[in-house]
């Protein structure tokens, strides 16, 4: 079975810096990573492949440097990588993103075999909308299973799939017919480490790279900024919740000494607390 996993390259939010002066996000020099949620989707796809056979293709829409993420997906064990890149895609919102990805998925079907299962992550860590997966499903006319925690059963010969879906009230067990789009929940598996052979293959693999025309897209008004009705009005960084940290060091490394020094620092800024504690420890 051919399975496609949609993956987005995102800035590593743990390492994003806000420019201390202008307060804008400094993207330059921030390392990029595969959207962490998408790794759960990839691992789930690889597990299905290991059981029923077939191939896993990873698909990304993004700038040329997104190739790095695709190569990484290959070291995890994916069989093929497709990069959809074109300056016409710049500024895509979820509507335009799902349009472009749906077109690429159709093209992938023609070139490498129709995928009965397409995975996405639950959401991204930079856009956070969780709309792209359902958007793709709608455009391709796939059934959709969102927030999937576990694949209970897959019966390719009858064309059905059963999953556990986490919902607010508890766990739902859902069955549907293929083709299906699954958005995978985080924390449900752990991405594998590819073998040395996988690493080699990845370092030499040719990434299939398509522009809009290659993916069979003709209507450019549906792409990028032009195809995006969402307008970002303002971006701002919320004020920090905590004040700047302070280093409290002691020469004496015993726990008592460290605790005493921490407490005395705290009491310095909250003298009332010391009185309260004293009273409390003295008992009634």
């Amino acid at each position: 079975m051919h399975i496609v996993v949609c993956m987005k390259q995102v800035p590593d939010s743990a390492q994003i810096r806000v420019h201390p002066v202008t307060n804008t996000i400094m993207r330059q020099g921030v390392p990029t990573i595969i959207n962490p949620y998408d790794l759960f989707a990839l691992e789930e796809a690889l597990r299905l492949r290991d059981v029923i056979g077939g191939e896993v293709t990873v698909l990304t829409m993004g700038p040329p440097m997104a190739e790095e993420s695709l190569r990484k997906a290959l070291t995890f064990g994916a069989d093929r990588a497709v990069l959809l890149t074109d300056r016409f895609f710049a500024g895509s919102d979820t509507l335009a993103t799902s349009f472009a990805l749906a077109a690429a998925l159709t093209k992938i079907g023609e070139e490498f075999g129709v995928p009965p299962i397409v995975f996405t992550g639950k959401q991204t860590i930079d856009g956070d909308t969780a709309q792209v997966g359902p958007g793709i499903a709608k455009r391709l006319g796939f059934n959709q299973l969102t927030y999937v925690a576990r694949i209970v059963d897959l019966a390719p010969e009858v064309g059905t799939i059963t999953v556990e879906r986490r919902a607010e009230g508890g766990v739902q067990v859902l069955s549907t017919r293929l083709p299906v789009l699954i958005t995978m929940l985080e924390g449900v598996n752990e991405i594998r480490r590819g073998t040395l052979e996988d690493a080699f293959r990845a370092s030499r693999a040719k990434i299939v790279t398509w522009n809009a025309a290659d993916a069979g897209i003709t209507d450019m008004t549906k792409c990028g900024l032009r195809g995006s009705p969402t307008i970002v009005k303002k971006i701002f960084s919320p004020p920090p919740r905590a004040e700047a940290a302070q280093l409290i060091a002691t020469i004496d490394q015993s726990y008592d000494a460290i605790a005493a020094s921490v407490m005395s620092e705290i009491f310095k800024s909250q003298p009332a607390l010391e009185d309260d504690l004293m009273r409390f420890s003295a008992g009634p």
């Binding site: 690493a199 280093l247 060091a249």
Partner: protein, 434 residues
Amino acid sequence: MIKERFDAIVVGAGPSGNAAAYTMAKEGLKVLQLERGEYSGSKNVQGAILYANALEKIIPDFRDDAPLERHVIEQRLWTMDDTSYVGMHYRSQDFNEERPNRYTIIRAQFDKWFSRKVREAGAVLLCETTVQELLRDSRGKVIGVRTDRGDGTVFADVVVLAEGVNGLIGQRSGLRAEVRTDSVALAVKEMHFLPREVIESRFNLKGNEGVVIEAMGTITAGMTGTAFLYTNQESISVGIGCIVADFEGSGQTPYGLLEAFKNHPSIKPLLENSECKEYAAHLIPEGGYNAMPELYGDGWIVVGDAGQFVNAVHREGSNLAMTTGRLAGETIVWLKRRKEIASKANLSEYRRRLDETFVMKDLKKYKNIPAFLHGTRQVFGVYPQLLSRAAQTWFRVDGTDKLSKEKEILKSFRKARTMPGLIGDAFKLVRAWR
């Protein structure tokens, strides 16, 4: 197991591994480079000085696209006590030359750039792949490596150990002893962000000019070590390091020393209003010539920090790393061209080439310095204080005549350290330096 065979496997993608891999790949050898980190530079301490000469010999036109921060036009050497510094500053317009000699760089970015060059030259780089042990044939010759990945063995004619200061692979494979705690310094470092204009006005700089400060004195609390401050384009690297053995039982911690250094009245204003964004700790091999392990054997060769190739007195490391990497690479290419195997006898050519360069000449020249510094703690406590007091006595105008001032200064030195002690220290230093 990987069936494909390589001419050389390089363990590590720091400056030494990159230099070796580049040199060999450029000459058409089949090179496999293995790096533990996520990418080249991901494990590396942030700011540093790049010495152009060593890199020029590998990539002559590196200035075209390497990520360089500032070229150094001023060097400040400070001897510090708790409230003062006595400094020697050298600033010259001559350093604003077309091909500057020293640059500040941010290692993570620089290593990434170098790594791209290595791959463009044709080497295969596999990251997040840790070498666990060397494989040997029945006669003991190294023939490949085992990695931590599944089915992870791969073979080559020679293995270049560019694994950095710890030298764990060399150690585990019985090629060398464990690194001694008195031969390595533990350095901690921070990056402080400041707008360009602020850095330029604080340090009196234009455009890409840069300043570096190296300091010693009471800031290391009597331990053998130094502190530094480098200007980058929009940040300042500041750090301090001391010999690991000295920390033991001293009650001092590296970050405690760094905190104190940053709060020194001479440093604090330079960092004011900056935002600290990155903190890193790393070891520096400082044992010098006398601490060097075996550098080559049957099927293996050691380059960079793994071979203790650091000139601690001049804080040169990456240039020695690149030069040793290049020489090892050139030696392997030379053997390959002559269709000779990488036996211990043949690889001795590496040592012969090393001996002809500044690398061995400098390390030999300074071979007694580590022992001198270790045995002469006054350098990091009493002397800086005396120097500062002497300067103060000399500059303070208070009605005392100059001859009395001179006598007072001399007396203060003698009181702190006996005359034979003073002379002895000077004598030891001269001997170590020669």
